[in-house]
């Protein structure tokens, strides 16, 4: 992979993507098969092949468009694009990178704010509980995103079916988990420097 990137602009987003994940946008020859099969294509502002094209060009402003795009957040990581890509470009991995990169640079698309809060809430739940605490998480998310009425209607029925627990399952070695979070966070800040 590194051989293909010898002559690339080291500052470009494409290059950073390649460095961090091994995914090389130059591999894409713009056939559009990813876009054709993407279940979320209609929802996206830039479809997967479009994002790859913007990364390939790396023109002024185009990288910013990618970082501020809504698409990475609406991506389902269903992996259809990658499974069918003739050039084997790992688009889901690229989307992961774009999400974390735009969160890091505080360029998250305003429409995607609720996705970010969802992920943050969920990770918080894992960080402090060790496991996903569905009630806490849903409530937390709904509070963060001001969507709290949406699902509340469903909660009582789930509760009666025994599917919602009012108290979280705590794991024993929560210190270990928080250590993982801390170290990973440190590594990320390091890498960002």
């Amino acid at each position: 992979m590194s051989a293909t990137t010898h002559h690339h602009d080291a500052d470009s987003l494409a290059h950073k993507l390649n460095n961090a994940t091994g995914v090389s946008p130059t591999r894409c020859y713009q056939c559009g098969k990813c876009t054709a099969g993407c279940p979320m294509a209609e929802e996206m502002d830039y479809t997967p092949s479009h994002i790859l094209r913007l990364l390939q060009l790396g023109l002024e402003g185009s990288e910013d468009r990618v970082l501020r795009a809504y698409s990475p957040w609406v991506c389902l990581t269903c992996e259809v694009c990658y499974a069918r890509c003739p050039q084997e470009v790992d688009i889901p991995k690229m989307m992961d990178f774009l999400r974390s990169e735009s969160a890091r640079l505080k360029k998250v698309n305003p429409r995607a704010a609720d996705f970010l809060s969802f992920h943050k809430t969920m990770l918080d739940s894992i960080r402090y509980v060790g496991r996903l605490y569905e009630v806490g998480m849903i409530m937390g998310y709904k509070l963060r995103s001001w969507h709290f009425l949406e699902d509340v209607l469903m909660a009582p029925s789930l509760f009666f079916k025994g599917k919602l627990k009012l108290f979280p399952h705590l794991i024993k070695n929560r210190k270990n988990i928080s250590q993982i979070f801390k170290k990973s966070g440190n590594a990320r800040t390091e890498a960002a420097k």
């Binding site: 056939c31 876009t35 479809t47 003739p86």
Partner: protein, 663 residues
Amino acid sequence: MSRIGVFVCHCGENISATVDCAGVAEAMSRVPGVVHSVDYKYMCSDPGQTMIKDAIKEKKLDGVVVSACSPHMHEPTFRRACAEAGLNPYLCEMANIREHCSWVHEKSEATTLKAIDLVHKMVEKVKKNQPLYSIKVPVTKTALVLGGGIAGIQAALDIANAGHKVVMVERSPSIGGHMSQLSETFPTLDCSQCILTPRMVEVAQHPNITLYTYSELESMDGFIGNFKVRIRKKARCVDEKLCTGCGLCTTKCPTKKIPSEFNEGLGMRSAIYVPFPQAVPNKPVIDKTQCTFFLKGKCKVCEKVCPTKAIRYDQEDEIIEVDIGAIVLATGFNVLGAEHFPEYGYGRYRDVIQGLQFERIASASGPTSGAIRRPSDGTEPETIVFIACAGSRDEAKGIPYCSKICCMYTAKHAMLYKHKVHHGKAYVFYMDIRAGGKMYEEFVRRAIEEDDVKYIRGRVSRIYEEDGKLIVKGADTLLGHQAIEIRADMVVLASAAVANDGAEELAQKLHVSYDPYHFFAEAHPKLRPVETNTAGIFLAGACQAPRDIPETVSQASGAASKVAALFSQSELTREPVIAVVNRIAPPLYSTCTGCALCVPACPYQAIEMEEIKNRDGVVVKRAAKINPGLCQGCGTCVALCRVKAIDLQGFSNEQVFAELMAL
């Protein structure tokens, strides 16, 4: 003591500007064994060459070193001059003091000293040179053409018309190949069978061509001009001499529902069958895997109805041995199988077909007599989608290359559809349109402009069925990378052209190299496109790489002209730069130990083990022997041989050692 002449060339000022040529000549005159050393402005000129010739005669030279330009430039010139003066040409060597010295260094003492070294080492080499004689190999003037498609047909006819014998071997029961399956051909839209059938007949009737259909190559031995091949003629179960091709047996055969290979599974054939009405030879063959008699031991309807009593259930495969001088490989290609397109449902949805199937549907001789009908219910498709690059340019499917022919035949398919279904809608999903070729681009434009075929730039991700329609999920990358859906009645995949089944095995039989996709490899991609790395074996058509008909035919004629050139002489002459295993006096006979480790190392399979017998005919040892017809002179075996029993003529151990020791 040697009598060597050294001739230092100034090359105008090309050498003399930085090298003291007179100084070099003077220095050389002091080397033991050098009896003549001169410098001159243009050694390659007529007077220069005359100078060398005269010196050879006057000074009775037994070795010549011309120190001038690269041997790649003028070695043949000077060797010819030596030969004209009566000196064995292989006693002439060149010292490269231009490209490797004067042109790459400034004028300095060091440059002249380097030139002296370069000339001196060649002087020392020449002292060890031996006279060599070009190798003469007899030529059997019969060509073997493997494959009876358009490539094989063209090559066979060209060779036969040049007056040489041809043996043609075709795997299936009839010649004709894929071209006989085609409906019409781009860019002229002339009927494929109309132009091909006369050629097929010509092959069958040509006095110089012997045709073996339903036959395969069993084995090949030997080398250029002297191949021995064994052909397996599979049992047809029909006596071809008695059979008149009346076709009664095929009509009466009770087993009729076998998918026809010729119609790509879209029509049926019987167990005893002729692949298609224009088949050559027009003699049936029994498919033993389907015939009731072979499966259950009874039936024999064909035998009963045959008016000439030509049916032979007990016929066995026959092995035919032929001496051959040259081989043309024309075994063609295949299309990528259904298992590669699960996302398109090919093999699952009956109305998703591939290009060759569409050819049969569009062909007047096809299962629908040329009417465009869906295979599932026989209705006329109102909307048809063509998918180019189905498998091609798809590294994930293992085919990163472009299949080359699909752009054109897809345009043709869309056009044929529109000509037959005027109100229908035709869409083509493509990535790039590759229409390089005479009248090709114009043809594609016609499809778009005159026939209103909608070209969509993007690939299809998936096809599924909904309410009897095929939902084609594609993308239009020109429309802001939009995903689009087309509800189609039929989908045609331009599936990738791939190497034929068994290509690898055949290549190994013939010692021909092949590329990672199992297409046969040419000797040089630009300058020797119809030759293989095995001398005497040539390539024609799509067995080398995907090709269209015009290219195939030109390449076939090219291969044929190579064969004709080879056959134009009764002996062929080769450079004697080949490896030789020494033979010496008893009791050793050869220093070869017979370890045979050189055998697998030879890139040309030129080494075999030979039994050495004494005068009484008793085998005293086994030693390697290099076939001078096959050896190309790379010297890999020489470096590998522990006992130095193999040496390379022209670059012998003694020669190279002497060169090295002179430095």
